[in-house]
Assembly symmetry: C2
Homo-oligomer: 408 residues x 2
DNA sequence: GTATTTTGTCCGGTGGATATACAATATGGG
DNA sequence: CCCATATTGTATATCCACCGGACAAAATAC
């Protein structure tokens, strides 16, 4: 039961039905490919005639293509249809404090090339270096004509509409325009987004054949900071000031550890990578600040190393990991009670220890969740190898192709 | 950019455009009445011909009616159109620990009759007493033929689809079916919802001529408990397990006061009516439990009394009110950072002291909100005289009339 | 070789937006 | 009183897109 926005609506014209059905068809193909015209007609509960017209229109637009002939028990064989993703490319960039990642992939998020390099914190130098890398990458892979855009994600708050980074504390970037600069120096359309929000987009649009993909979910991204991408009814929640999803700054304890945001006891201050490490090292890193971050970077001891130690019998390391699991669970339980998503996706280095912490996390959730049914909210771990943030950056360019038309 | 749910979509048929435009027209009339056919055409950017057909169809359905002839500087006078709300009635019920309220109103939420009575906690007796009251009320006001349903709200978690109350701690109701029992004994359709969620529905559907009504907002309801109704993109968020919006149980401090949910330091334990009173009375009421609630009820000293004392110079009362304001602000800031709504509505007894606490609340928000722009999130207080919860109950019946059709 | 089944196309029918003309209604000026 | 002008609301032909059903093409079963 949705309310129509009487200040900004779209009246249905005589071509609206076609727009809607065309996009339903595209999404049906996307989620069930390979699929025949007849199957589309059955799934959409329209006649094969309509399905055929829709399909031919989509072929004409270059959004899908006819593939091999399929197999049927009897009768004429179907011709399979596929969404055209393999020859549509995108450059995705994940800027993080420790390092930055640049990937060339197709519209399905399949990796073609990947480069990892040290982040340059001066924004001018960064853009210059980055656009050199992009040009080289695109050239080497002969992708000049096929690359349709650049998606860039950062750990911080981003004004998606203007492409400005509002505040990325770990990078020290505040109020910097990235989109226009990068677009100018590469000649490609650029979209910038918060990393966790982008992860949510990739879960929505690039997840591989997930038949029961939820319409409302949360993507929790634990790295230098903690961000959450919130999808409600199939739409990413950005918020009035582009800060929706900043669950990292839930206040859990007024006497808790100091957070980079200036307050005490934020969730982030308990479970960010730096928090995990400082839990292991004792007081050494407990004063969170960019300086401490740099110190941690120099020592180059990461959460992955900590998890390795925990596995190899370092009881102090294990304790640090488990304690983190407890706070992770507390935060997840809170998210469940507040927005009650259909499903929660987890990403970040700490998830490599999922087998170690799962029980602790679930116990913590069970302790806080308000109903028994809520404790059973599905939790899914996104593997670090899948580069969820990079796939999210790719989704920034690829998703609009599949998005529903705005109606009413 | 919304994703189509490929498991559960609606294909556009040749009558879909009409359904969409018909409902846009209805909503335009609802929000700008009185309005002429020509004005609708201008607002919808369609020809007067189309607007005329839509209007005549809506008149045929009995949803709108032609009123007086308007005035124009020159040319033919317009005939004004109105949404038919005055002769469509609804019984709304607000069950609370202290007392229960029953109201007969029209579809616009205009009060026709109001009764206040002591809540009966035995569910069987309650339903019996309530249906007697409803029958009497409907009969006295000659509303048998015009009453289209019953909306009932409770402070607690409700499965809206089945009409079962999952858990209403203050009432001691757990897993009780209310809808079917009440529907059986009154013969009217019944909808049951959480009070804060219903408040959100009334803000969406029953707010009086609010031209710039936001599409995403939060309704915070502070009374015996603390509930929040969250509206995202014009749709109420209910959640996988019907517990979305339970911001009352945000954990703010592991060493905080005990909450009725069994945990410590929930937001509710700082700002609920009982928490406010116990802040004033010292340790007397600090052990939250239904027993304490009953004690408080017997003493019949309410938050309204406390606010009165604060106004009349009782410095201890004022301190209690201000301390509450601080925690209220902390929670609001958290809501802003997590879901970043366009606007926040506040309801509950404590809002009668808004002039006293506003500065404190805004300071607390400014301290925590992550961006300067977020601190300026509009806050609007809903007066207790408007009976927001009762209007919410009415919205449960009235809203579906105006809801957007499900498309795609 | 024929019946059957399935795929994909084609075509007249119908609902609904669009454009435009037009009647009805009111004002102002001579 | 007549006429130009402006505004509201209706009527009509046109175009777009779904609907239903017929039909050719392709493959299997018997």
């Amino acid at each position: 039961m949705r309310k129509i926005n009487t200040c900004d609506f779209r009246v249905a014209t005589r071509s609206t039905s076609r727009e809607i059905n065309s996009l339903i068809a595209l999404n049906v193909i996307h989620e069930h490919q390979p699929i025949s015209r007849a199957d589309i007609a059955r799934r959409m509960k329209v006649t094969r005639g309509v399905a055929s017209t829709l399909v031919n229109e989509l072929i004409g637009q270059g959004l899908i293509y006819e593939g091999a002939t399929g197999d049927a028990a009897r009768g004429r064989k179907p011709t399979f249809l596929h969404v055209r993703t393999r020859d549509r490319l995108v450059v995705s960039i994940d800027v993080r404090f420790s390092r930055s990642y640049i990937m060339l992939s197709d519209f399905a998020g399949r990796q073609i090339a990947l480069e990892i390099f040290d982040t340059i914190f001066d924004i001018g130098d960064f853009i210059k270096d980055l656009s050199d890398r992009i040009r080289r990458l695109v050239k080497v892979h002969n992708a000049e004509s096929r690359c349709e855009g650049i998606g860039l994600v950062v750990p911080g708050m981003v004004d998606y509409r203007t492409g400005r980074i509002l505040n990325a504390p770990t990078l020290g970037w505040r109020g910097v325009d990235v989109r226009d600069k990068l677009a100018a120096s590469t000649g490609l359309p650029v979209y910038v987004e918060n990393a966790a929000k982008a992860c949510a987009l990739s879960q929505m649009w690039l997840s591989n054949n997930n038949p029961a993909s939820p319409q409302s979910f949360a993507c929790i991204n634990v790295s230098d900071g903690v961000g959450v991408g919130l999808v409600v009814n199939g739409e990413l929640l950005r918020g009035r000031d582009h800060i929706a999803g900043e669950f990292g700054h839930m206040p859990l304890n007024p006497n808790g550890p100091r957070c980079m945001c200036g307050n005490n006891g934020c969730w982030e201050a308990y479970i960010s990578n730096l928090a995990i490490l400082s839990r292991y090292f004792g007081a050494n890193l407990s004063k969170r600040s960019p300086k401490c971050l740099k110190e941690a970077k120099r020592s180059s001891f990461t959460v992955l190393d900590l998890v390795a130690r925990a596995r190899s019998g370092d009881s102090k390391a294990l304790a640090a990991v488990l304690a983190t699991g407890q706070f992770l669970g507390l935060g997840i339980a809170t998210i469940i009670n507040l927005v009650n998503p259909d499903c929660i996706y987890l990403a970040g280095e700490i998830t490599t220890a999922w087998d170690l912490i799962e029980d602790t996390v679930r116990e913590a959730i069970a302790e806080r969740a308000l109903t028994e049914s809520a404790t059973r909210t599905p939790l899914r771990v996104t593997s670090t190898q899948e580069y969820p943030r990079l796939r999210g950056a790719a989704a920034l360019i690829a998703a609009p192709t599949f998005a529903a038309p705005r109606v009413a």
